[in-house]
């Protein structure tokens, strides 16, 4: 009796709610810790970055315009999808070299992180905004608004928890994102894309690219239609400095490289970084 041949998966990009290959036709080899072939992941190009930013821009007003309640519900729905595919995520993390225990813990933490951020969507405006007691007869009110489109280089380690920890705070606040997955461990990100695609997150809100940090970071930073650049996973100091310099040309908001403990309580830091405070004045009186 012949052994069943498994159906192998083609790992693709996630742009505008679809799963295209890189327009460049390029792939790169992703290997397990023992050196065996895991996949040929798509190697995104500059054009893929542009397509992803265009998709994110297109989706941004609708996503920002959705009620905070809905954004919270949809983010929670992502948590449900990840939980439902728990086995798949554990498998992807194990392939990336994690022990089964560590992989399980990371998936659990990821689900919990999504739930945590989901709850912030309709609370943050009250916590970060509010009435300002100005010295005069005015109604004066501040509210957080999304920065817009964020281009992010995901953490290189904690390929799932780190990725979700940078995406979630940006999207619950109404931003749309283009995120470059961990270069050496991109497969959990592709699995996340599959969860996102089935979780009511509108196409274009999260766009996930796989490819090379050194190649794509400069295009993230210099793209004039990107409102914030998150250099979280850029380990090369020169690359990060050059990206920050390029972003300065259009005064794009930059989050510098960071390597926090992704298991720790993230606090409001990342939520605050992806909002702008708008203050509205109106005279009060009869």
């Amino acid at each position: 009796m012949s052994k069943r041949v498994s159906v192998r998966k083609t790992y693709k990009l996630y742009v505008g709610g679809k799963f295209p290959r890189s327009e460049s036709g390029r792939t790169y080899l992703v290997t397990a810790s023992d050196g065996s072939l895991l996949a040929n992941a798509a190697r995104a190009s500059r054009k893929d970055v542009r397509d992803a930013v265009a998709a994110a821009r297109k989706a941004q007003p609708g996503w920002a315009g959705a009620t905070a309640y809905l954004r919270g519900q949809i983010t929670y729905r992502v948590a449900e999808m990840v939980e439902g595919r728990r086995g798949q995520f554990i498998e992807e993390l194990r392939n990336s070299g994690a022990t089964i225990k560590a992989a399980e813990a990371e998936v659990d933490a990821t689900v919990d992180r999504l739930v945590w951020y989901a709850g912030w969507a309709d609370k943050l405006p009250q916590v970060l905004g509010g009435a300002n007691p100005v010295a005069g007869p005015f109604f004066n009110h501040s509210t957080p608004e999304p920065v817009g489109v964020a281009a992010m280089v995901a953490p290189q380690n904690d390929a799932l928890l780190g990725l979700v920890s940078v995406i979630a705070p940006a999207i619950v606040t109404g931003n749309t994102v283009v995120v470059l997955a961990s270069q050496d461990r991109p497969l959990p990100a592709v699995a996340l894309a599959e969860a996102l695609a089935t979780s009511d997150v509108p196409g274009g809100v999260v766009n996930i690219l796989t490819g090379q940090v050194a190649e794509l970071t400069p295009w993230f930073a210099s793209h004039a239609d990107v409102n914030a650049v998150d250099l979280c996973g850029v380990a090369d100091a020169d690359l990060a400095r050059d990206a920050e310099t390029a972003a300065a040309e259009t005064l794009t908001r930059v989050l510098r490289p960071a390597n926090p403990d992704w298991n720790a309580d993230p606090g409001l830091d990342r939520l605050r970084r992806f909002v702008e405070i708008k203050t509205v004045w109106h005279p009060a009186g009869v």
């Binding site: 100005v134 300065a248 040309e249 259009t250 203050t279 509205v280 109106h282």
Partner: protein, 478 residues
């Protein structure tokens, strides 16, 4: 022009004692620059030389940074917030006590009408210190975690349009959070910052907590790129802001930028037009239009455009241009010859590109730097006067038909600092305020500021907020 002429009502300048020359304020003392030179600060209203001011060089910046670092490590950083607060309260009170003197000095050095320096700038300056004094011992409650920490030494560079107010916006929150500062005022308006240094002495603020170094762009560049600065704060042009953002790239320095703007002031047909006209005038002619958030693009609904323009021109004819120290003066002097040249260049471009300029009949003084209030009609979105920040008393008028068109035109700019909306319909105000890409939206009012209210821009107008609880973030390690 008017039926009854105003009698001159000049404020006396005798209250101000300007020294012939000033040193740098470093470590609590005025010192001579060690490697710098000197320059002169002139009264833009008559080109009189007011004083000679030092230009700080590299060694002077080093000395100021060293003093600030020592004060941070030894005195100000370890000091309990409640004690820091008392110093800030002292400063707030001293400013209030000396506000008449400071207002006159501000008008002399800057050219702004005494009416504005006295009634707007100085009360606000005092209030910012008063407001942030109260935060110094309450930082754990500000929403940045239980124990937010200061950053260290803040390098701060401020512009010439609101010399003392911008100083207050920078220094008050920095000190409240436990940082020490080295501040450089603009080279054309250093005198009130130097008077503030005296106030620090009167308040017995520990030496080195506040250092004031004067100089031009080169001094500012040396300051913001100094390795000892943990924080850089800048208010000024977008071009310089861009250079500073590049200079701090790849460092650990925290950066906030308050840059230019090209604000739209939108008048809907259902607005209270007389109030709107007052708001338009205040929006663009306040402080000679030397305001980054000035309402320099008037977007008026087509059906009322003629009526609004007629009312606006009639109102502009009553504006009085002249001696900044005269209490009847509405429009003072342009701050410098350089700025006047820029305004002239841009308005010439406006005419060359086909827009029509109009100014009320107005006597321009013979000496000093002056520009009559000007309104351009027939402006298209592509014109330079609709795209570039003029930073002068020049208004560009565009029209629109539908609310969506108004928003699209208003947002058609790389800037995003402020916007104005005039309509009697509440739901339209709330809608427009949401749609406008700007950090501050004034509805049925314009150019209002308050210590408790965050101010700052989106896009190329910079990053960060000044004022209110949000303004603390710039000076905390969060």
């Amino acid at each position: 022009m008017s039926l009854f002429e105003y009698a001159p009502a000049p404020e006396s300048r005798a209250i101000v004692d300007i020294k012939p020359s000033y040193g740098l304020f470093i470590d609590g003392e005025f010192v001579d620059p060690s490697d710098g030179s000197a320059f002169k600060s002139v009264n833009p209203a008559n080109e009189e030389i007011l004083a000679e001011v030092s230009s700080a060089g590299q060694a002077d910046v080093d000395a100021a940074m060293t003093a600030a670092r020592r004060a941070y490590d030894k005195v100000w950083g370890p000091m309990p917030g409640a004690e820091r607060a008392k110093y800030l309260f002292r400063i707030a009170r001293l400013i209030a006590e000396r506000s008449r003197e400071l207002a006159v000095l501000e008008s002399l050095d800057n050219g702004k009408p005494i009416k504005e320096s006295r009634d707007v700038d100085l009360p606000l300056v005092s209030s910012y210190f008063f407001y942030y004094a109260g935060w110094a011992d309450k930082l754990a409650h500000a929403g940045f975690g239980p124990a937010p920490r200061p950053l260290g030494v803040a390098a701060q560079v401020i512009p010439w349009n609101f010399p003392l107010l911008m100083l207050a916006w920078k220094i008050a929150p920095a000190l409240a959070c436990g940082n020490t500062v080295v501040l450089k005022p603009a080279e054309t308006t250093p005198l009130t910052a130097l008077a503030f240094a005296e106030i620090c002495q009167q308040a017995e603020l520990p030496p080195g907590v506040v250092n004031i170094i004067t100089g031009a762009g080169e001094t500012g560049q040396t300051l913001v790129s100094h390795p000892g600065a943990a924080k850089v704060a800048f208010t000024g042009s977008t071009q310089v802001g861009r250079q500073i953002a590049k200079a701090v790239a790849g460092t650990d320095k925290k950066l906030t930028l308050e840059l230019g703007g090209k604000a739209a002031n939108i008048v809907f047909a259902d607005a209270a037009l007389d109030q709107a006209v007052e708001g338009i005038v205040n929006g663009i002619f306040f402080n000679q239009g030397h305001v980054c958030c000035a309402g320099s693009r008037l977007l008026v609904q087509e059906s009322v455009a003629e009526e609004v323009l007629e009312k606006l021109k009639r109102r502009m004819e009553t504006l009085r241009l002249g001696d900044p120290l005269d209490k009847n003066t509405d429009i003072g002097a342009i701050n410098s010859a350089e700025q006047l040249a820029r305004i002239k260049d841009l308005t010439a471009a406006g005419s060359a590109e086909g827009a029509q300029a109009w100014s009320p009949a107005c006597d321009i003084p013979e000496s000093g730097f002056w520009f009559a209030p000007t309104v351009f009609t027939g402006v298209s979105q592509a014109h330079r006067i609709a795209r570039e920040e003029i930073f002068g008393p020049v208004l560009s008028v565009l029209t629109f038909r539908t609310p969506d068109e108004a928003i699209a035109k208003a947002n058609n700019t790389p800037y995003g600092l402020s916007a104005g909306v005039w309509t009697e319909k509440g739901s339209r105000i709330l809608w427009a305020a949401t749609e406008l890409k700007a950090g501050v939206v004034w509805a049925n009012t314009f150019n209002k500021f308050d210590a408790t209210s965050p101010f700052g821009g989106l896009k190329e107008s910079g990053y960060g907020r000044e004022g209110g609880r949000h303004g603390l973030e710039a000076y905390l390690d969060v």
